[in-house]
């Protein structure tokens, strides 16, 4: 999800799909980062969403545009820190090493909560979980390397992360908001395989929507291709998790539906999420909805702000909350900030 949020953040900057986009090419270098988001949002001009493909050649990876791209990669790295720590602790029983967590941008925070899940009774899910954990750890290290290659001073610190399942932890807050825990109840992702899968479900689709939302904001063709590869990996994870939950039966399916609804509520009006199962008027499950997609068969986008609404578990604009108690870290302040409820771009492009 983290990846997704980076992309989504970009979209927030645009505010509307309609405003899409000519990218302002910012000069490379850290000094150019400040304030560039405003420029991004201001560059709306030719936003014709309808089919007027322009025959311009592929962008090159060098030269302009790097600074804003790095801010997007930073946003993605925040999300990857969250996912990687969650999976590493829950699955492998250890946090990431310090060398994978320190940087130069933002405040270095610690992880609150988390412990190893017992997969002994479900070894196949244990295998799935180990694969995902290793992928997410790889994403952290890959993003750190790519950012560092551009400018070592732009690698962000891991921000404070809350993956606690107690009544005041972020997972419990999310579960309370979704109605799968009581108002002051707990939701412990580490207590059972069922809960672990639901917690993974909570993250993965968000990552997909974040990377997708950010995709048009990336100017470097190389970064874009890399980001598309992380987006795809997140979608594979999400598809895997959704399938596994669906196979577990109606109780798990309906809980996943509630979590999807909660995500969709947090990020403001408009549909940006898909339930796991279709239901009839009585609320009974009628079939699967394995792939969260719109009527065009496209996965959803979230802006960077909307991604932060979900991971901060807040519906208003601000910095910090939920899984990132002190906010995410970024060279661009605007890419740490959740969206206001009124900032609601229409969720999907139309086919006309």
């Amino acid at each position: 999800m983290i990846k997704d949020s980076v992309f989504a953040a970009i979209e927030v900057a645009n505010q509307q799909r309609a405003a899409r986009r000519r990218f302002i090419k910012l000069a490379a270098g850290s000094t150019a980062v400040a304030g560039s988001l405003a420029l991004l949002s201001a560059c709306g001009g030719s936003d014709d969403p309808s089919p007027t493909p322009t025959p311009t050649p592929t962008p090159t990876a060098s030269g302009t545009g790097v600074a804003s791209d790095i801010a997007i990669l930073q946003l993605a790295l925040n999300l990857e820190y969250l996912e990687a720590q969650f999976y590493s602790i829950a699955v492998l029983g250890r946090a990431l090493p310090e060398s994978s967590l320190t940087g130069s941008v933002g405040t270095r925070g610690n992880v609150t909560g988390g412990r190893q899940v017992n997969f002994a009774g479900e070894p196949i899910i244990g295998q799935f979980a180990r694969e995902i954990a290793n992928d997410e750890i790889a994403h952290v290290n890959a993003l750190r390397s790519v950012i560092s290659a551009a400018d070592p001073a732009l690698v962000i610190n891991q921000p404070a992360i809350n993956i606690d399942g107690s009544a005041t932890g972020a997972f419990a807050k999310a579960a309370q908001a979704a109605g799968i825990a009581n108002a002051d109840g707990t939701f412990d992702p580490y207590a059972s395989v069922d809960n672990f899968l639901l917690a993974a479900f909570l993250f993965e689709d968000v990552g997909v929507s974040a990377y997708k939302g950010a995709s048009p904001l990336i100017t470097s063709a190389v970064y874009l291709e890399a980001a598309a590869g992380i987006l795809a990996a997140e979608a594979y994870h999400a598809g895997l998790i959704r399938n596994e939950i669906y196979l577990r039966g109606n109780d798990a399916r309906l809980k996943a539906n509630k979590l999807a609804d909660a995500r969709d509520t947090l990020d403001g009006p408009g549909v940006r999420d898909g339930r796991l199962a279709t239901v009839d008027a009585t609320g009974a499950v009628t079939g699967p909805n394995l792939t969260p997609a719109d009527s065009n068969g496209l996965a959803y986008s979230r802006s960077t702000g909307q991604v932060h609404n979900v991971v901060y578990l807040r519906t208003d604009a601000g910095i910090g909350g939920g899984f990132f108690p002190a906010g995410t870290n970024n060279s661009l302040e605007s890419l740490r900030t959740s969206a206001t409820p009124t900032a609601t771009p229409s969720p999907t492009p139309t086919a006309t």
């Binding site: 025959p55 694969e131 992928d135 048009p216 990996a233 594979y236």
Partner: protein, 346 residues
């Protein structure tokens, strides 16, 4: 040379690989860098910078070219799943176009899912998604003067059909008279779906940097994601069913199909950031890590980045031809549009 012979030749040219994706990357990256990338070493390793190579594109393509290329693939997938779920091909309103030679999608039928109700439902959902992709791309192209017609598509089950040739070349079936019938069982359906879904992911990923219009780019990212959701569903189902019924050889067959795709698509130079590799198609066999067995649902490199294929590589797989060809395999008369030739750029 027949499709089957071409594919067999390609396969023979390489060592059959069952290595895990990560062990396999170890070789590809080189011992020094690779040693840090083993999956079991969960953390601090630097993730192979290989920074920013310049994308090579000496030829300029329009977004219309790319959307039409994608539309060929969606015609293929949508017709396959439509047959599987409903017994019918796409309707005439969804396949007409003013560019290229129109053809029929032939040879498919409804899958006998037996008691696998959930998988039948999944097939229906995927069919709906793929049809939506066809309609979306056609709507984006908007004018019949630029929209390709559906080309001829072979979804048949004869001994010389594309499915049978692909399965024979992969080693899933043996003998010139053997048939691979994707519609005969749930397991065969999943293997055929496996053949297509990962291909779609790599195709959209490889095309993404070629797209100029940002609206199209974001839409393509949305289709890419959906194909990856589908692919994960298919891969994880094959893996689960393979472990539950080892005699069905599902994990082995998926690995053989991956190896065949990997042979057909050439050996581009490794790029760990962009996700390009000479060996870019791991199967679904589990890998041993320091923390225990890990599955292989996500076909990704040591950075956790999935792979790209360029259009020529994609066509090599669709045509079942490692070398340059303009038709074959699932597209017996070739695809329509600007990108027509397989293998040429490898």
């Amino acid at each position: 040379m027949s499709d089957s012979e071409r594919m067999m030749e390609a396969l023979d040219a390489r060592v059959q690989r069952r290595d895990s994706r990560r062990a396999f990357f170890t070789q590809a990256i080189g011992a020094a860098a690779g040693a840090t990338m083993l999956a079991g070493q969960a953390a601090a390793q630097t993730a192979t910078p290989t920074p920013t190579p310049t994308p090579s594109s000496t030829t300029t393509y329009t977004d219309i070219d790319i959307l039409n290329f994608a539309l060929n693939l969606e015609y293929l997938e949508a017709n396959f799943y439509s047959f599987c779920a409903t017994g019918s091909a796409l309707g005439s309103a969804d396949i007409s176009g003013g560019v290229g030679t129109a053809g029929a999608a032939t040879g498919g039928r409804q899958v006998a899912f037996g008691g696998d109700t959930i998988i039948a439902q999944y097939a229906a959902e995927i069919a709906a998604d793929e049809l939506a992709h066809v309609r979306f791309l056609r709507a984006q192209l908007s004018s019949s003067t630029v929209t390709i017609a559906q080309p001829a598509i072979d979804l048949g089950v004869s001994a010389t059909s594309a499915f049978s040739n692909a399965a024979r070349a992969a080693g899933v079936i043996t003998g010139a008279s053997a048939v691979f019938d994707p519609y005969a069982s749930t397991n065969n359906f999943l293997l055929a779906a496996y053949l297509f879904e990962d291909l779609g992911v790599t195709a959209y990923k490889g095309a993404a940097p070629l797209i100029s219009n940002k609206t199209f780019l974001e839409a393509a990212a949305g289709i890419l994601a959906v194909e990856a959701y589908h692919a994960a569903t298919v891969r994880s189902l094959l893996y689960r069913r393979g472990l539950q019924t080892p005699s069905a050889l599902l994990v082995e067959s998926a690995g053989q199909i991956s190896a065949a795709r990997d042979s057909l698509d050439g050996t581009p130079t490794e790029d760990l950031v962009r996700g390009i590799a000479p060996n870019d198609d791991p199967g679904i066999a589990s890998v041993t890590t320091a923390d225990g067995l890990a599955s292989n649902i996500v076909p990704a490199n040591a950075n956790g980045i999935t792979y790209s294929r360029n259009p020529a590589q994609v066509l090599s797989i669709a045509y079942l031809s490692a070398s340059a060809a303009t038709a074959g395999g699932f597209f017996p008369a070739g695809v329509n549009g600007t990108f027509k030739t397989s293998g040429a750029s490898i």
